[in-house]
């Protein structure tokens, strides 16, 4: 008897097509591109703001139009997917033990959504939305 173990090759570029759970994972990971794009947009906004009112208004004008709106909507959709998919797995990373029991994960998830809503309300308040 001779040992000659057979190693099955794993595709480095197509492995995530093997199961829906891997595609789900990739859909979460790919959101980082859109979050990164929005971060760059935000940096551009700050840069234009620092250059005075005219620069800021030209930046805002550049963002007008259907393509811009569509791009921002796509970014928003991916940002929402990023946020919700990460919020929904938070109980795994931060279990809360109370005596012999663990706080049900839904409360930990709900706390994140609550904090998100609170932060959004504060941002809108300081942005002058009444």
């Amino acid at each position: 008897m001779s040992r000659r173990p057979f190693v099955r090759e794993v595709s480095k570029t197509r492995w995530y097509f093997k199961h829906p759970r891997y595609l789900r994972y990739m859909s979460r990971e790919i959101t980082c591109i859109f979050i990164g794009a929005f971060a760059l947009l935000l940096l551009c906004a700050v840069l234009h703001l620092s250059r005075g009112q005219a620069a800021w208004e030209s930046f805002l004008a550049a963002l007008q139009g259907p393509w811009s709106a569509l791009g921002l909507l796509v970014i928003l959709a991916f940002a929402l997917h990023n946020t919700t998919s990460w919020f929904n797995v938070t109980p795994k990373a931060m279990p809360v033990q109370i005596g012999e029991d663990f706080l049900p994960g839904k409360f930990i998830v709900a706390a994140h959504y609550l904090a998100w809503i609170l932060a959004s309300v504060l941002v809108l308040y300081f942005a002058g939305v009444r």
Partner: protein, 247 residues
């Protein structure tokens, strides 16, 4: 109980004669309550005695009979035939080399398991005369779910990080390290941390979560690994930001 005819495509590999594995179709008369392992046993007993596979307890406790069943890591003693339609594809656990037929080489997992010291390293040695190491029910609950791991390696077969970076310690080994780190009687965290917080350790995990989805004992390795990341990050902050800080 009624009988039914089941077709299985089983991956065969004989290292002495084959250059690569190939599927072999078997037709087995099975009883309604049978699991895939029963069908394999029926093949071995009455159709093809050359078929090789591992099994022992037939009750999802020993962790020996893990296989890919229709592409999903499963304990074959836990996979009821009635839940499958058409031809059932049976392959050795993914991400491990094939020794022969459905038997994989588990050496890599066993070596990694040893490296994380998955046993109690008491905080202080006590003589037998001093009595047992006591623990409250709450202290037990802190790690209890992680102690349910049966080393079946299904989580490794599901983990794409392990598939792509074979040096990764992997879900079960890190989960078992976490199990002992969470134990109030244990004092071995620093020793384990050198291994599990290394480059080959927990930071290879990108939280796919497949390990927890396939675990037959509902252990949640993905949760354990994220908790290890949080604890390791706190270690880093303690070491680098606190004056005279040591993790």
């Amino acid at each position: 109980m009624s009988d039914r005819l089941v077709h299985l495509d089983v991956l065969r590999y004989n290292p002495e004669t084959d250059t690569e594995p190939h599927f072999q179709r078997y037709e087995v008369t099975c009883r309604e309550e049978w699991v895939v392992l029963d069908a394999l046993n029926a093949i071995k007993e009455s159709i093809d005695p050359t078929l090789n596979y591992r099994w022992s307890c037939h009750m999802a406790v020993c962790g020996s009979c893990g296989m890919m069943i229709n592409g999903e890591p499963k304990l074959s003693c836990h996979a009821f035939l009635r839940n499958y339609d058409g031809v059932i594809r049976v392959e050795p656990l993914a991400n491990f080399p094939i020794e022969r037929d459905l038997v994989t080489v588990a050496d890599d997992f066993i070596d990694k398991l040893k490296r994380v010291k998955p046993y109690l390293i008491p905080k202080q040695d006590k003589s037998i005369a001093e009595g047992e190491y006591k623990q409250t029910p709450a202290q037990l609950m802190k790690y209890r779910q992680f102690s349910m791991c049966i080393n079946c390696m299904l989580c490794y077969a599901a983990c794409p990080e392990y598939a792509l970076s074979p040096l990764f310690l992997g879900p079960a080994a890190i989960t078992l390290a976490h199990r002992y780190n969470q134990d109030s009687r244990d004092g071995g965290r620093n020793e384990r941390q050198e291994v599990i917080a290394s480059d080959e350790g927990v930071w290879q995990c990108s939280f796919v979560g497949a390990c927890s989805e396939v675990c037959p004992k509902a252990v949640d390795p993905a949760g354990a690994l994220q908790q290890v990341k949080v604890a390791s990050t706190l270690d880093w902050f303690k070491e680098h930001l606190l004056p005279g800080g040591k993790p």
